[in-house]
Symmetry: C2
Subunit: 234 residues, 2 copies
DNA sequence: CTGCCTGAGTGACATAAGTTACTGCTCTAC
DNA sequence: GTAGAGCAGTAACTTATGTCACTCAGGCAG
């Protein structure tokens, strides 16, 4: 029990939302949080449900997404430990605008709406922090809209590959090498499309000599060539 | 001068963001605002510019939008008097994520970032209000993403028509009648597409007997029929 | 009255996107 | 080892989307 509380307090301290709180404050807050465990694939909550508290990720990755009637998915965000989920419904009182599921086994610190709101009133600077976090979220959403509205799947895929190459790639003699972080299916969800198109477009990029693809293993042979693909008038 | 200040104070009072402030408070705030006038079509600000204050609409309509390299536009929001624009960049300090232009001649109350932030620190409840407003904005963005990702232009158009019919339509013997609020071009921007597709889809709906179209004049003959079009598996 | 400008309707076309339906590969469980 | 599950590659096809290039009507300025 004590152990758990301590863990939660440190986990909370890592949360961007709650940085610059004193250890004592964290402890008080931790005493009011509930630890929740989710296994990979499990739903944290579904779109449309009422929101009764703030989720902070202590362990694991969480995917925020919308689902269409026909079963297609569009990922809105992937959140990692230290980030919070669904800050907004906590404040505006509305239902969740999207669903959330654990990508990996995950541990979540849950603070009830009432407690967190009370906390914000006592600590106005927390509300400003929340605004900052929400600002970043809003910017990402606008970015997604821009992509959906103006770019092809090919370009979105290229953009994703470039980001991965620059973040996770190892530079080798032949180029920049990395693994796709998930299945083609999951990547497709993040790009707002279907598995087949990811596969096809990867093959097409390979045929054009920009990449070598071996299932999830990617070798970028011409990063600048890839980047130049993003600047076409589309 | 006094007149102007008074006007601004009442205009501010109508703003959702600042409701439940006392007249005295409004007056103080109004003393710190600048009145800006824009004529139809004029840009308030452009995507990427630094944000140095909060805009509140006193008169006129304002369009928030993204532009692609090839010149296409995607409207993110249309804001009317009483609403605020770009609350978020004020808080997170980043640049504007999108551009804003006046649809009609517009009058804007402008409060500098510094002043408004100071105001929020003194009045924590205002920060919570801002969170609520931003929450609504975020929900709308998620809605746009859902539409772009899962629906066809036909369905988006139908949804827009239904909304207009229910909000502005006059019921006549032959059906619900209303005018499109803008040119096909503008409607296309709001749906994230081009003029031709709006025109074509309207004609197609007419051919199917759901509507009568005469340029901007619309007569909805079968509202339920329209609605049922939205429930297909797409 | 005439010519011009803007907005609207349309046909032809190229391409992107999504669906269906396979094949084949690689694990894991039995 | 074998069966089955899950992931990946692909071909054929349908539809949606966007572009180009017009035509046409109405309104406004000269």
């Amino acid at each position: 029990m004590t152990h758990e509380r301590t863990d939660l307090a440190t986990a909370l301290g890592r949360a961007a939302l709650l940085s610059n709180l004193t250890p004592a404050e964290l402890k008080t807050l931790a005493a009011r949080t509930v630890r929740k465990l989710f296994s990979a694939g499990e739903l944290l909550f579904s779109e449309g449900e009422p929101c009764n508290g703030l989720h902070i990720i202590a362990q694991g990755k969480v995917r925020i997404f919308k689902t269409s009637m026909s079963g297609r998915e569009q990922v809105l965000a992937v959140n990692v430990p230290g980030e919070s989920i669904a800050e907004l419904p906590v404040f505006d009182g509305g239902p969740f605008p999207a669903s959330a599921a654990a990508i990996e086994d995950a541990e979540i610190a849950f603070i009830s709406r009432r407690d967190f709101q009370a906390y914000c009133v006592e600590h106005p600077e927390v509300a400003l922090k929340v605004l900052q976090v929400v600002g970043g979220r809003l910017r990402r959403l606008v970015g997604i809209i821009e992509e959906l509205s103006f770019t092809t799947i090919r370009q979105r895929l290229i953009a994703a590959l470039i980001k991965l190459a620059e973040k996770e790639g190892r530079t080798t003699a032949r180029g920049i090498e990395f693994q796709l972080p998930a299945t083609h299916q999951e990547l497709a969800h993040q790009l707002g499309t279907v598995r087949e198109l990811v596969s096809r477009n990867l093959m097409r990029l390979q045929a054009e000599g920009l990449l070598d693809v071996d299932a999830r293993q990617i070798l970028v042979k011409d990063l600048d060539g890839l980047k130049s693909q993003l600047e076409t008038t589309s």
